[in-house]
Amino acid sequence: MNVCEIKHKLIGRGWGDVRMSFCLVCDDGTILLSGDKTHPEVMTESRVCLTREVKRPHYWHCLIRPGYLLLRVKVHLHSSFFCSKKNVGPSNALEDCHVCHLTTSHNITAINDACVCCAVLAVRIPHSTDQNVVSSSCVIDPKLRMRNTSKDRIDPSQLFDDTSAAPGVETAGFPGQGVGAMGYPGQTLLSDPMSNLAMAYGSSLASQGKDLVDKNLDRFLPISKLKYYFAVDTVYVGKKLGLLIFPYMHQNWEVSYQQDTPVAPRFDINAPDLYIPAMGFITYILVSGLALGTQNRFTPEILGMQASSALVWLIMEVLAVLLSLYLVTVNTDLTTIDLVAFSGYKYVGMIVGVVAGLLFGRTGYYLTLLWCCISIFIFMIRTLRLKLLSEAAAQGVLIHGARNQLRMYLTMSIAAAQPIFMYWLTYHLVG
């Protein structure tokens, strides 16, 4: 099907000139999109149609479901309805939020419901002031909705790739052979009813024990929550490392959500993960051992000492941040593990600095450390700004008031603590 893509740009509050040649009509009668008659073959922008009732400034409200934003639609020009393809993957279009009209940018990773023929791709963006909105589902032919709904869909709620299908096919051949080979001596083993019973009892006991351990362990260590932080892939790690060293070009720092739960890190570069901090910590210990070895100061105990030192500083930093978050009464969705992740990101800069110091001497160390310090400072400020500050303040609007000032100071001090720690933990390694 020949479709051309419209980059839907919300043109803010202006209505613009609307010449209707074809419209997308929702099933409750409201007209959602229209096309320009002068360029029938190419749609460059879409504009929202105005129904007669909707002559008021916030017309977006009436046409879109609460919290939904009209994002990307493709148009087939030779029929009178819109064809669209499911849009999978992040899209960084900068658009006005339809409720508060602040410009926010969205990563689209969730798909609401889309059919092949026509759909408006609407993504839920959590917004606190959803009100006065009429629903629109925008399906022209509901019967076509069920076709091809999951052809090329990557389910963002799935943390890890499902690789169970392929190996299962391969190993199907082996058990047959294994049983055949074992058949001869196995007959004497399995034919004995007592050992049969013992095996069954033993396996049931083992599974019971496993269930017990799982249940109790989940009470102390939130294993399922931890799994979320390790759901990364190579592309994410590469991009995140680049972001930690060079955060200046990145525009959209918001974490995307999928129905109120954060999306796994492999689908969203802004989500914190624990893989990089964990690997960075271990690499830092190894690199510090290497650095001490070049100065002939290496003993095996030093590795343990470095590890516990760095761990202790990490724990103290996380405790300090938790305490200050409690004192300033910030309502944030930052969990402890998030804080550990953010504190662990500085190990990347430290490693780069120490390696540069090994290769190029003290000047190389100081220069790279300075670069990495500034980068991690900017990174932390831009990430924490969206989490700690109130929404309006995060946009850069200056809001006076003691509380917002406190929050600002808190963000700045957390970000400023990172370079200090980076220097403190590495200066003794470069001779």
């Binding site: 000492m305 516990s308 030192s309 761990l311 202790v312 500083w313 724990i315 103290m316 409690y326 004192l327 300033v328 009464t329 509380r403 406190l406 403190w424």
Partner: protein, 82 residues
């Protein structure tokens, strides 16, 4: 700086002991950090001082009994192993 996990545990125990020793009537009320002075102000901004006072009070309430056990263990270990 050579920190071990054990020194962190020691530091934490000492700090919690310090907080647990602050007596409500004899000391905190005298300097204006008592319980009766923190109630009030039902706005959404408790303020740092009120939060601190709440923190002190909750640490004292919660950690009173476990601290007895932890301190005894610590004393025994230090006597035996130095």
């Amino acid at each position: 700086m050579a920190f071990t996990l054990y020194s962190l545990i020691q530091a934490v125990i000492l700090c919690v002991n310090a907080v647990a020793v602050l007596h409500e009537e004899r000391f905190l009320s005298k300097i204006g950090w008592g319980v009766d002075q923190s109630i009030g102000g039902f706005g959404d901004e408790p303020g740092i001082k009120v939060q601190l006072m709440n923190l002190v009070r909750s640490v004292r309430t919660v950690m009173r009994v476990p601290l007895i056990a932890v301190n005894s263990v610590c004393i025994v270990l230090l006597l035996l192993f130095g």
